[in-house]
């Protein structure tokens, strides 16, 4: 691999995405910046509607053409600005260097084509010079890598004949067809049962160790994060509120929102009945944000004027480069 690992693979700076809605403009992503380094697993965590998926879709320019606007920001992928790329350049990157798997493996496979053809097409799109035999070998190899037993017999079947976990394996095989350096996995285990979830995570880990690709994992499941991520970015209301190494974050969550998320998670150590929901609702994002968007739900009740007036920025730096955007705890770090 020709990548320089002293430089991030993907660097997103100050990304802002707006959506037109009947009630006005909604700012779904509000100044998100992050880096992904070669080979690392970065996880986006946050509740539904916080902008995790929109950020990922914006990177690949997959947002709907009508109604969605990338207001500002830069997305540098291995030195190329993805936001300024023409459609030909974009197609050369999509599926070849960055690929993506989606939440629902049932609807992300084309029901009218055999699994074999779908994997095959993914290969052919970017490696048109391969012979039929080479492609077939590659398909079988991919299917074996993602743990599909008796690949040769089953590849001629249609998606409806496969179980959810098998379909997600097929999706991963398609995503890995051209050995991308970055795989975006949007809630890859949501909707699968627990044993299958664990298997799919195993497959992701397997694939990563074989190809060395970086993974951007989007999830709301902290268990999945603990299982596979290297670094975590906690997203709330369109902003990254905390970014930390995974062990550090689980050992000592700093942002009150992260702490809230953690205490929503059942474990054997917590006493029965001590599961606490975060009170209140995420804010409506249709106005300009004044102050901290989390202040109404904040458990710290840090009574400072700043919380109501100044939007907290990611700041401070823990030993491993973690940052947090909070007036109350930010100061503690620096």
């Amino acid at each position: 691999m020709t990548l320089n690992s002293a430089k991030p693979l993907l660097s997103v700076v100050d990304l802002v995405v707006d959506f037109d809605t009947p009630r006005g403009v909604v700012r779904a992503v509000d100044g998100v910046s992050f880096d992904i380094w070669p080979g690392e697993v970065l996880s986006f965590v946050g509740e539904s509607g916080c902008g995790k998926t929109v950020t990922a879709l914006a990177l690949l320019r997959l947002l709907p053409q009508v109604g969605a606007h990338v207001r500002s920001g830069r997305v540098l992928f291995d030195g190329v600005d993805l936001l300024g790329l023409d459609s030909v350049g974009l197609r050369a990157i999509r599926g070849k260097r960055i690929s993506m798997i989606f939440q629902d493996p049932t609807s992300s496979l084309n029901p009218m084509k055999t699994i074999e053809r779908q994997i095959e097409e993914a290969i052919k799109l970017h490696q048109p010079a391969l012979t039929r035999i080479q492609i077939r070998d590659r398909v079988v190899h991919l299917m074996v890598t993602v743990g599909i037993a008796d690949a040769r017999e089953r590849m001629e079947e249609y998606p409806h004949m496969w179980s959810g976990g098998m379909r997600q394996r097929a999706m991963i095989a398609i995503a890995m067809a051209n050995e991308p350096v970055l795989l975006i996995a949007d809630e890859p285990t949501t909707g699968l049962d627990t044993t299958v979830q664990a298997q799919v995570l195993d497959v992701l880990r397997e694939v990563r160790s074989e190809t060395g690709s970086a993974i951007l994992l989007i999830t709301h499941n902290l268990g999945v994060v603990a299982e596979i991520a290297d670094r975590v970015a906690v997203i709330y209301a369109g902003r990254i509120v905390e970014t930390r190494g995974v062990e550090e974050l689980f050992a000592r969550p700093l942002h009150p929102y992260t702490q809230g998320l953690m205490s929503c998670q059942p474990s054997f150590e917590t006493a029965r009945g001590s599961l606490r929901a975060i009170g209140g609702q995420p804010p409506q994002l249709d106005g300009p944000s004044i102050g901290c968007t989390f202040r109404d739900r904040c458990a710290l009740k840090f009574d400072r004027n700043d919380c109501a007036t100044i939007v907290p920025q990611l700041s401070g730096s823990t030993a491993t480069g973690g940052q947090v955007a909070c007036h109350a705890v930010g100061g503690v770090l620096s």
């Binding site: 999509r94 029901p111 009218m112």
Partner: protein
């Protein structure tokens, strides 16, 4: 794909269609007489010599029905191809690209929908002249509107599906997505609608021939049925045999479209 055995109904329908097209292909060899020539006494009921009887001036009806199979097959296939191409193309372009393109195509479609089709056809044939080629063109160019709308509606829903997004993510171009991802999924709708339409076309052709606007140089089932009206009380066979031929053809097309739809649907 493992093949599910066809049920009896579908097999009979396929058999009928195959029989129809074989008869159409070899009508000259299969017809016992020349259907344009007088071969026996007029208005003779079905007999061993004339299985379907003869018409008022003694032409053999069986030969007429056999020649009619050819005419009807050519018309159905011709119109089917024209409608499938125009309707599908306009429908998917309209549905996938949306915006101004969609508006323009849909307004044109509506134009074709609001004009009463039968009268449009009558006027067009009166203007261009009766003949098989004109008949196919006119029927084809006046029948695609509904298919375009149906396909557009299907594409509108299909383009939001995740596998379309997944195809874009893997680097496919919009045209590729349109023809390789969306179109295959729209085929059940196209097939079913086309089959419905083709049975309509068969009947439409029959109606046109019935009122004398068919090809004067070709015998069609509709023409035979139309010509029988003066003799309904004395020569039942003149109406019954061409009528049964139309009925069986329409029935077979409908059954096959059902079966196709059923088979493709299970993959979803």
């Amino acid at each position: 794909m493992k093949h599910v055995p066809l049920n009896l109904r579908t097999r009979s329908a396929v058999g009928l269609i195959v029989f129809w097209f074989v008869v159409a292909g070899f009508s000259r060899q299969l017809a016992p007489y020349d259907p344009f020539k007088v071969s026996g006494p007029g208005l003779e009921g079905p007999s061993r010599e004339f299985l379907f009887g003869t018409d008022a001036i003694g032409r053999d009806l069986l030969s007429g029905v056999v020649y009619g199979a050819r005419t009807s097959a050519i018309i159905v296939v011709g119109v089917g191809i024209i409608v499938a191409i125009i309707g599908t193309l306009l429908g998917i372009i309209s549905g996938y690209f949306g915006g101004l393109v969609d508006d323009a195509i849909m307004r044109i479609t509506e134009l074709f929908q609001v004009i009463p089709r039968f009268f449009l056809i009558i006027i067009a044939i009166a203007y261009f002249g009766a003949g098989m080629d004109n008949l196919i063109l006119v029927l084809g160019f006046t029948s695609w509107a509904m298919l375009a709308r149906v396909v557009r509606a299907e594409v509108l829903s299909l383009r939001e599906r995740t596998f379309v997004e997944a195809a874009l993510v893997s680097g496919a171009s919009p045209w590729r997505v349109l023809f390789r991802e969306i179109l295959p999924n729209a085929t059940p709708v196209i097939v079913v609608y086309l089959a419905l339409l083709l049975s309509q076309v068969l009947l439409l052709e029959a109606s046109l021939s019935f009122i004398g606007l068919g090809d004067p140089n070709a015998i069609s089932w509709g023409y035979l049925a139309g010509a029988s009206q003066a003799y309904l009380r004395i020569g039942w066979w003149l109406a019954v045999f061409p009528g049964v031929a139309i009925l069986l053809a329409v029935l077979a097309i409908n059954i096959i479209s059902d079966a196709l739809n059923e088979r493709i649907k299970t993959r979803r």
